[in-house]
């Protein structure tokens, strides 16, 4: 897997390079500012980019802007955004184009390297990975509004795990039920959110989008 890494803090960049290489990723470029990131993304077209939000030269949301710009020019370019804090606003911006293949995680999540690398892989494969904290805020905000109000608590739980980017198998394991039970839940969710049968991955992305956009 070819990875472009954007992180301006040397220690963290180093740590991420080592971690990703240990999981058989090839770091094709490691940059430390917004303009370089944009150039690297458009030139190298990696399988996935791991991007820090705040970088030089402005030390604001440079990384996020570069990632969004790259995805406007190359739709669906897989990007996993890392940040010291998560904002629903940024999550929505990342999800807005509806092409999936995005992730948005707190930097803390790199502590668990297995899980983190799993998230990187899922984004590279076109999945959507949202930080549990984004999802918790959404749950607090949208529990009673349409169309999510139509979902049962169990279905909402499944949808939340789906938004974290987990597969049916992983959700089943987490909720201690069979994968078939989860498949039933997901098809109910698709039905209630009025998502037409198309390819499964796309519907998952759309369901998560519906979830995040209420």
């Amino acid at each position: 897997m070819r990875v472009v890494l954007a992180e301006d803090l040397f220690l963290l960049q180093n740590g991420l390079v080592r971690m990703l290489e240990a999981y058989d990723c090839e770091i094709v470029a490691a940059v430390d500012n917004g303009p370089d990131l944009l150039a690297a993304l458009l030139e190298l077209r990696p399988d996935v980019a791991v991007v820090d939000v705040r970088m030089p030269p402005t030390f604001t949301d440079e990384g996020l802007q570069a990632a969004l710009q790259a995805r406007r020019e190359a739709p669906g370019l897989p990007v996993l955004v890392l940040s010291q804090y998560v904002e629903q606003l940024y999550a929505r911006e990342l999800l807005a184009d509806g092409t999936g293949a995005v992730g948005y995680l707190l930097k803390d999540r790199v502590f668990d390297s297995d899980q983190f690398v799993d998230a990187v892989r899922r984004v590279a494969a076109g999945g959507t990975v949202m930080d549990p904290e984004v999802i918790a805020k959404l749950l607090a905000h949208n529990a009673h509004t349409e169309p999510l109000g139509a979902l049962t608590p169990r279905e909402r739980e499944v949808l939340a795990l789906m938004a974290e980017g987990r597969s049916n198998a992983a959700i089943a394991e987490r909720m201690v039920v069979t994968e078939r039970a989860i498949a039933k839940h997901t098809s109910n969710i698709f039905l209630k959110l009025d998502l037409q049968p198309s390819d499964e991955d796309n519907r998952r992305v759309l369901a998560v989008l519906a979830y995040l956009n209420t």
Binding site: T60, D61, K107, H141
Partner: protein
């Protein structure tokens, strides 16, 4: 022909109405002279009595009465004459209780330059302001009197006297004179009506000349206000730093210490008890995650990253997304605000939103942010039950303190039954 006449009459109605209103105002302003004279008499007694000691009791009463009177006139002048007249009085300092306090209060009242100007006004106003306001009223009355003369001329003539009206002798049988008198009366009434709205601004200028604060007083009150807000801002900053220090000390710092201890314990246990060492390491990892969480919350409280990233508009949108209520945000800002203003406005919105969620009982909030004529205008309205009491809400006072160094104004309008509308006005430039 008659139709167009009626039209003309109808068209001139607003002209008359406006002038009648102005005339009425002149009349009221003139009549106010008489209670003013009473007040002046009271003040005179007080000053004469001062020599005998009795005035010490009467003086503050007189000064306060004069102030009330002057305040009323300032308000009327501002409302009716288009001349804004602000009060020049400084805020009352805190005096000790008992006789010394009363003595200090009296001295403070007497030495206030505004008191002297008030008294000068009180003496001159019956002459200047009173006559000025009387002028249009007198013209109209004199004109009306002309008609009275005409109507009564037969009776008056029969007594053998006749009557005079503005240099014209009215006598029964002299139809030409009566016509002239009537014309004169109409002329005077019209002149009076015409002059009433012209007199009002002059009256306003007169009132302002003595009742408005002098430049020195304005400067002094500005300095006082700046001193107050500066010391409040410094206090608030110091309190904020103390809070941050405490949060760091009890939170992240403590967790880092625990982490270090766990790590060194793990290093010692690594060879002999690898299982326990692993547990220690996991604990250290959790502690670091918790420390990060606490630091994140702390940073949000100091200056939310989204605010520095995107500015006020998006930061308030982010707030709206995190709120438990349904919040609609409208932003019309062509540029970024200065950082301190941006931060003050952001925390005002955050506090207002939190209050709406906690107390209003409403479901929806509308936030509008725009920049006009060098001012940031922000309104936050909810659909709740209203009845928010600014005196009770310590949060509101805190917001005022936050906005005061920027000369920001905060207005809370919350009638019982709702809606609650908070309006913030902050002078600032866009970059």
């Amino acid at each position: 022909m008659s139709r167009s006449m009626a039209d003309r009459v109808e068209e001139s109605l607003p002209w008359f109405r406006e002038r009648l209103v102005a005339l009425g105002r002149c009349l009221v302003l003139h009549l106010l002279v008489y209670p003013g004279l009473l007040c002046a008499a009271l003040a005179g007694f007080a000053f004469v009595g001062l020599g005998f000691g009795a005035g010490a009791l009467l003086l503050p009463l007189a000064v306060l009465a004069v102030r009330r009177m002057a305040d009323q006139r300032r308000e009327l002048a501002t409302r009716w004459t288009g001349t804004v007249v602000e009060a020049p009085y400084p805020r009352r300092p805190v005096f000790p209780a008992g006789a010394t306090g009363v003595r200090q209060w009296v001295r403070w009242l007497r030495s206030d330059p505004a008191t002297r100007r008030d008294l000068t006004w009180l003496l001159l106003d019956p002459v200047v302001g009173g006559l000025l306001a009387l002028l249009p009223v007198a013209l109209v009355l004199e004109g009306v009197y002309g008609f009275v003369v005409c109507a009564n001329v037969r009776w008056m003539s029969s007594t053998g006297y006749g009557d005079w009206f503005v240099l014209m002798h009215a006598h029964y049988g002299h139809g030409g004179d009566l016509a002239a008198i009537s014309a004169m009366g109409v002329g005077l009434v019209l002149l009076g009506l015409w002059s009433a709205p012209k007199v009002l601004p002059v009256y306003g200028r007169w009132t302002r000349s003595l009742l408005a604060p002098t430049p020195e007083v304005q400067l002094a009150s500005r300095v006082r206000q700046l001193t107050e807000t500066r010391s409040e801002a410094v206090d608030a900053q110091a309190a904020e730093l103390r809070r941050i220090e405490r949060d760091l000390h009890d939170g992240a710092q403590a967790r880092l210490v625990a982490m270090g201890m766990n790590l060194s314990a793990a290093a010692q246990l690594l060879e002999k008890h690898p299982a326990e060492a692993k547990e220690m390491l996991l604990e250290a990892r959790n502690a670091s995650a918790q420390a990060l969480n606490e630091l994140r919350d702390l940073v949000r409280g100091i200056h939310p990253p989204v605010l520095s990233d995107r500015g006020l508009g998006d930061a308030v949108r982010a707030l709206a997304l995190d709120s438990a209520l349904t919040v609609e945000v409208g932003v019309d800002l062509p540029g970024r605000l200065e950082a301190p203003v941006e931060s003050a406005a952001y925390f005002t919105a955050a506090e207002a939103l939190a209050n709406a969620a906690k107390h209003s009982g409403g479901q929806r909030v509308w936030i509008d942010i725009l920049h006009r004529d060098g001012r940031l205008l922000m309104t936050i309205q909810d659909d709740g039950a209203g009845g928010a009491d600014p005196a009770k809400g310590g949060g509101l006072r805190g917001l005022e303190r936050r906005l005061a160094p920027f000369d920001g104004i905060l207005v809370l309008n919350s009638p019982v039954g709702g809606p609650t509308v908070l309006t913030v006005e902050l002078p600032c430039e866009l970059s």
